[in-house]
Symmetry: C2
Subunit: 402 residues, 2 copies
């Protein structure tokens, strides 16, 4: 079976799931109907290949090819999306894993150690605000006792969302005991590969990054009758902070974004009482990240003093720098003369790497670099090159017994 | 019957309706359960006074004391609130109207011409974005054909919201044929009366004011991997525009507020694709208002050019300056040596005045000036002074036949 037909068939099967008719983007939030459909689809794909899928208490999934207790090779990614996201971020890694397995079987490959395909839940943190929640729980980076109290935007507890999705959070989590190496294929989310004119690359590191919640509190008041000098308007403090974040990131060559905001009462003719905004910040080192977030916070506090508002900043999640196993990257790069490049995006691969599992990432070229957007794209030829590259990587890693 | 007991009883009856347990503020949006309860309460109060309430097809209400076709005197206000609003804005005028009628009857007053008490719906525009919608429809300033297609934040059409509330929009609207004069009592929303150390004042004029919708469009993208210089982030354009609005209003002694915002997709790790924000702007003259909004728009467009975003500005509602009948104000001011002051807030009184009905407003002191907020307040003694003042005004206006 040629990879082309398999890959393209799987891709078109997934295309309508969770897609917005108006924007063309995807709403595949965890523990929703769309995500349940994706989980069923994955189980069917595995079953069609004679693999048995294990689904854990929160919806992480894994299917192993080959028996034995020796350390195996796991590949895969995630199927959830950001709000109004693209088709490739996550699903490309899962579909490519299945297609790569087909390629290996077509080649007559027999795994020397177990080869697994996995799907982690809530990688984007789009519903409960914690990115890589599934892999964090599996590795113990986050405990269930910490996570179960998280609430989504509608106030639903994580534990209830999981139960309502027909899962049993008390049924336990996936074991990573059999995972000797992890490989995640992912669409690139920048333009490094475009600039280098190659279809495939490997990851060297993930920048440190995190999410901080800024609560700007003021006093609700009438938008007409309240003199400007009598106001305590938190929207102004927020606005200056958003511009300060942009400036700080530009100055340091880092990233800082306010993409989510919630305003109370959010009425046209009322000065707001509260503006809550979330800062996504990333930098090339842990120190640089802390310095940038500190500088943004200081500017925000100074402006709050001027505006008569108050500010509370709390870190919702902070991930330190992740250096992927350099020996592994060097060994794999030799298979295809692939460049080894850094990324500013968090991934389940980063969580598993931090948990001590030798980990590699394979990137597939993104012609515009656009991601987390309905405009996210990868050419089919590049996706197929990614499948072949992933098959080569898996053959290298799983070809011989541990 | 002393006004104290009546006023305070009515006030405490209304206190729990539509009140948020968490903020203490009010959510009395039109055509909701809370507003239906207020409408029933008003009908019961009128019935207890032997008055028959007429409710029109969209929920405007009026009850007349006295027969005859000669031009009468209408007083009243509204019962809806902004989101998380105060108790006084609107209801104080309705409760005071009922209490003033009690005072007049206690005095043995017999109207020389019909005296009516009215309630207009959706004065705040908190649900469908058009302030004074009820009075605009009654006067013809807005037609039903224009209004029926309005949608609330959940996409519900106005016509459906009205029908779902058990009203029949095809049943017609209140006639103003019997209204020779309109008087609206309202809590002051600034601090003019505090500064003058008096409990009651009259209105001279309403500043011109309006609402403009700003749609800032950019490109959704990954908050981590997208270099700052590759972004088209509409949040930055918005942030600068919010600060520019504040600056323009301060420079001119006007008002400009961005209190409402909607972000797409509103995800922490995505550069937004679209930021929609509503500008509430008010100034002391029509020219000054147009100049200020124009200046804000130009600064916003300049910034959009720098950010690679685009901007569309549309006026949702603009109300020109309203000068209340100066002879009427002078005549009434003599009753209590009341100051005559301008307001920056729109009112149904402004709509009726613009429709050619001689109109006056009575303001009751607000000790902090705070309004459109759970903190909005007026002292009971001042409210009772307002009731007496309104009774005096009504006696002056309705004491003799037309």
């Amino acid at each position: 079976m040629a990879p082309t037909s398999d890959f393209e068939q799987m891709w078109s099967d997934l295309a309508p799931v969770g897609r917005s008719a108006s924007s063309g983007g995807y709403f595949r939030q965890p523990w929703t109907t769309a995500e349940a459909e994706l989980r069923s689809w994955f189980a069917e794909q595995c079953a069609a290949r004679g693999l048995v899928v294990e689904t854990d208490g929160i919806g992480n999934q894994v299917a192993w090819w080959g028996e034995g207790d020796q350390p195996g090779v796991l590949t895969g990614s995630h199927l959830d999306s950001v709000l109004d996201g693209g088709a490739y971020d996550g699903p490309l890694g899962v579909v490519s894993a299945l297609a790569a397995l087909d390629v290996l079987r077509d080649r007559g490959f027999e795994p020397g150690r177990p080869l697994g395909i996995g799907v982690f839940v809530e990688e984007e943190g789009s519903r409960f605000g914690r990115a890589c929640l599934g892999s964090r729980l599996v590795t113990g980076a986050t405990t269930w006792e910490q996570a179960r109290e998280l609430r989504d935007r509608d106030g639903v507890f994580l534990a209830d969302a999981v139960s309502d999705a027909g899962l049993d959070p008390d049924a336990g989590l996936l074991s990573l005991d059999r995972v000797g190496t992890f490989v995640e294929l992912h669409v690139e989310q920048g333009r490094d590969l475009v600039d280098r004119d190659v279809a495939v690359g490997l990851a060297s590191e993930i920048w440190p990054h995190g999410r901080w919640r800024f609560d700007f509190a003021g006093q609700a008041n009438h938008a007409g009758t309240t003199r400007m000098e009598d106001r305590r308007d938190p929207m102004l403090t927020y606005a200056m902070t958003a511009l300060a974040a942009d400036e700080q990131a530009r100055l340091g060559g880092h990233r800082a974004t306010f993409g989510r905001i919630s305003v109370q009462p959010n009425g046209t003719n009322a000065v707001p009482s509260l503006v809550t905004a979330w800062l996504d910040a990333r930098a090339s080192s842990d120190d640089a990240l802390a310095a940038m977030v500190g500088a943004i916070g200081r500017q925000a506090h100074d402006r709050a003093d001027r505006d008569g508002t108050s500010l509370d900043v709390s870190a919702e999640s902070v991930s330190g720098a992740v250096a992927f196993d350099p020996d592994l990257a060097a060994r794999l790069a030799g298979l295809g003369d692939w460049p080894v490049i850094p990324t500013q995006a968090g991934h389940d691969a980063g969580i598993l790497s931090e948990a001590g599992i030798p980990t590699a990432m394979v990137f597939v070229r993104n012609p515009t670099g656009v991601s987390h957007s309905p405009d996210e794209h990868a050419e089919t030829a590049d996706c197929l090159a990614g499948v072949t590259a992933l098959a080569d990587v898996l053959a290298e890693l799983a070809g011989t017994p541990a």
